[in-house]
């Protein structure tokens, strides 16, 4: 009851015109930051922190939070329209979103993404209000060994992304893991595959690599046949058809659940929930072959998951004071610079502020939906520009985006090279998704393995003595066995069915 009272007070405060304006400004800026590839939510939020010095803390925090989840949606727009992920969490949306756009269903893709984001964000915030503190405690038991086991489960999912050839899929996943090895190794601090170039010490940037593999590769393909139309048919609907609705409802509800649960685990980042949501939908689908060809579930699930994640990730921050992603860490910096330390005590010391900020999440999510649905038509119309303008514009956008990451020309070079590689992969029909998965999981696997072993003094039994870790390893093994059976040669499968 107490909670309800606080929330009501918070809502009233958040509805004050000043706070509402801050939320609106935040949503608009966030969307813009999301649209500009490279400049992700973390950097975007950081740059705008000084702006909030002049505001009162509540208004400032409302605005920064709105920027954060606004960016989560904004990244979708470029993924769908030009196959360039506007921020890391929108990579998965490229798989099917861009295909939908090419079939003239770009408006629908953006529409379902807006709706899914809204649902995911709302439900996660509601859960934040109702069940946050105990859940956050449970999520803490997720230490480095559990993290490692979870990443292995993720790697097991690669078979679902393999496309036509399992071997090609596995090879690409390994390539992704290898690329992830570039940089200073986390165990001994020695540079690996860096050729003495300091720009390589942190490894190849994820964003330049995926912008190259998707966006630049797409531009190169367009060059090949100058007459090729980006959009095959005329853009029609904003809202999904009845059939598309039916298929999206399940995807949105599962996406919400996956995004929320993974959002509770500090350090997991926004990409893994989207990948998980996508793979789960593909596994459950009766028509998995449609994934990658413009399946609406392939947009609805990850887009919902990333906003559910974004809002759920506030839970460890607000309840324990632990920032679970780089962007949240920046937000925490904004709290601290305003003299507020997020954590259990903040709820007691400044309930008015905390609850107003939480209440603003509801309003912000609603604002985003109101803001974005009418804009969808405008965005989609961009695709009707002559393709040469779209191509040049996209390339300019990518170059600016890659440079804006660290003001380093090297990132532009990485992007261009990856673009050429991506083009080659498309030509010989190698799947890109497993490579991206390997690239994401690689550093996590290595870091969590190493930290676990540092904790145990080099003893591997740490993975077999923690119940949650064992459970996850068993799940991983089951997934592998199931995949092996599903993908086994026809003779093996027939023999099994005969038994």
């Amino acid at each position: 009851m107490d909670t309800l009272q606080h929330l009501t007070d918070g809502l009233v405060a958040a509805l004050g015109w000043q706070n509402l304006v801050f939320a609106l400004i935040g949503c608009v800026l966030g969307t813009l930051i999301g649209v500009l590839p490279g400049l992700g939510p973390a950097a975007g939020t950081a740059i705008l922190i000084p702006l909030t010095f002049r505001l009162d803390p509540t208004g400032g925090l409302i605005m920064l939070s709105a920027i954060y989840y606004g960016a989560m949606y904004g990244g979708t727009i470029t993924s769908v329209l030009i196959n360039v992920p506007g921020e890391a969490a929108s990579v998965v949306t490229c798989f099917d979103g861009y295909q939908m756009a090419r079939q003239g269903r770009g408006g629908t893709a953006l529409g379902i993404a807006a709706i899914g984001s809204f649902v995911g964000g709302m439900v996660a915030t509601l859960a934040l209000v109702v069940v946050a503190p105990p859940l956050a405690r449970v999520a803490l038991s997720f230490g480095p060994p559990e993290f490692f086991a979870l990443m292995l489960v993720g790697l097991g999912l690669v078979t679902s992304l393999a496309g036509r050839s399992l071997l090609a899929g596995l090879a690409m996943a390994v390539l992704g893991l290898l690329i992830a090895m570039v940089g200073i190794d986390p165990v001994r601090g020695a540079p690996r595959f860096t050729f003495g170039i300091p720009s390589l010490y942190d490894g190849l940037g994820f964003i330049p690599v995926v912008m190259g593999l998707f966006g630049v590769a797409e531009i190169l393909l367009t060059l090949e046949s100058p007459t090729r139309q980006l959009v095959a048919t005329k853009f029609t609907a904003l809202l999904p058809s009845r059939e598309e609705w039916r298929r999206s409802v399940g995807a949105i509800s599962r996406g919400t659940g996956i995004g929320f649960v993974l959002g509770l685990i500090p350090g997991i980042g926004a990409i893994i929930p989207t990948f998980t949501a996508y793979v789960v939908e593909k596994r459950l689908s009766k028509t998995p072959e449609k994934f990658g060809q413009g399946a609406i579930e392939g947009v609805a699930a990850p887009e919902t998951a990333n906003n559910a994640y974004a809002n759920a990730a506030m839970i460890p921050l607000l309840t324990l004071g632990i920032p679970s992603s780089p962007t949240i860490a920046v937000l925490m910096g904004a709290f601290i610079i305003n003299g507020l330390t997020p954590g259990p005590f903040l709820f007691q010391e400044r309930p008015d502020l905390v609850w107003t900020v939480i209440a603003s999440f509801f309003l912000g999510n609603a604002l985003l939906l109101i803001l974005n649905l009418p804009l969808v038509g405008l965005w989609a119309r961009l695709l009707h520009l002559p393709h040469q303008y779209v191509s040049v514009g996209t390339l300019l956008f990518c170059v600016l985006g890659a440079y804006s990451l660290q003001q380093n020309v090297f990132d532009i070079a990485v992007m261009i090279v990856c673009g050429i590689i991506g083009y080659g992969m498309r030509k010989i029909d190698l799947p890109i998704a497993p490579l991206v998965l390997g690239l994401i999981l690689g550093p996590f696997i290595e870091k969590s393995l190493r930290t676990s072993l540092e904790m145990s003094g080099g003893d591997f039994s740490i993975f077999f003595t923690r119940p949650l870790c064992v459970a996850l390893l068993v799940i991983g093994a089951l997934i592998l066995v199931a995949s092996a059976l599903r993908l086994a040669p026809a003779e093996v499968r027939e023999a099994r069915d005969a038994n």
């Binding site: 800026l29 705008l48 803490l140 720009s199 010490y201 324990l320 920046v330 005590f345 003001q407 380093n408």
Partner: protein
Amino acid sequence: MSRLVTATFAATLALAAALGGAGAQQSYPTRPIQLMVAFPAGGSTDIAARIVASIAEKELGQSVVVVNKGGAGGQIGWTELTRQRPDGYYIGFINLPATNTVILDPERKAIFTEKDFVPIINQVLDPGLIWVRADSPYKTVHDLIEAAKKAPNTIRTATTGILSDDHLAILMTEEAAPGALFRLVHLEGGAAQLKEIMAGNVDVAFDNVGSIATRVKSGEVRGLAVLDEVRSKFLPDVPTMKELGYPTVISSSTRGIAAPKGTPEPIVKRLREVLKKAMEHPDHVKKLEDAGIAIKIMEGEEYARYFADTHAKAKKYTEWARNRPMR
């Protein structure tokens, strides 16, 4: 987006300054100054840099643009800084002892040395802090060290990264308390430490006062010792290692501003004056102190000497860290 706007704005200003100042008397600065931060936007160095920049530019009459050149633990940014023309239009933050360890670690193959910087002024000195969970069995540093002697290499001790100031501080503690051996767990930073300490995955953390002071004050965690000559004003109840009988365990992380080697002395002097004024400005002081970050202004000779001392100390422990069997 905003960075683009800033860049465009800066470029416009530069153009205006160039046109306007063409015939007029040339006096530094005539165009915007870039202030490099060797870490990504949003980190504590960055936030404090933006506060200084916003005050200093009013004084200078030219904008001071914060440029983030993050990566490789600062190496990218410092490489960039030392390669700039020494004309006072590109200065940057150095973070001692991180800048020193990058130079000293042979694997880093840094192309700059400690001689490539002209230290201008130090802004922040954030002393090290040893801290544990509020319900930890280690109530004092004495408990911790006795335990580390009784069962060497079992107490899981978190750093904020390989060759970070915290990593070196652990080695200093081992040196000061012969027989004590900690099991090092290299985590990525303060947030990761907080998570693993709260979850019970590590037993003790070495970090800096600024990262955790507010949580020590609220009682969420317990501070065991401050690694400084004097107690921290933010944690007056936490003793120093010096008081506890370990006078050699002195470690901190600092942030200050330096120019590339060869910058003319009049320019350095002007920058020092302006930056000092900015750092003493009430807005700057309040923002940093609210966040638990200790301002320590060191200029000229004093700062240059501090740089040299830190370098010598970092050299000793970097070599030790590389040769310590269980690192």
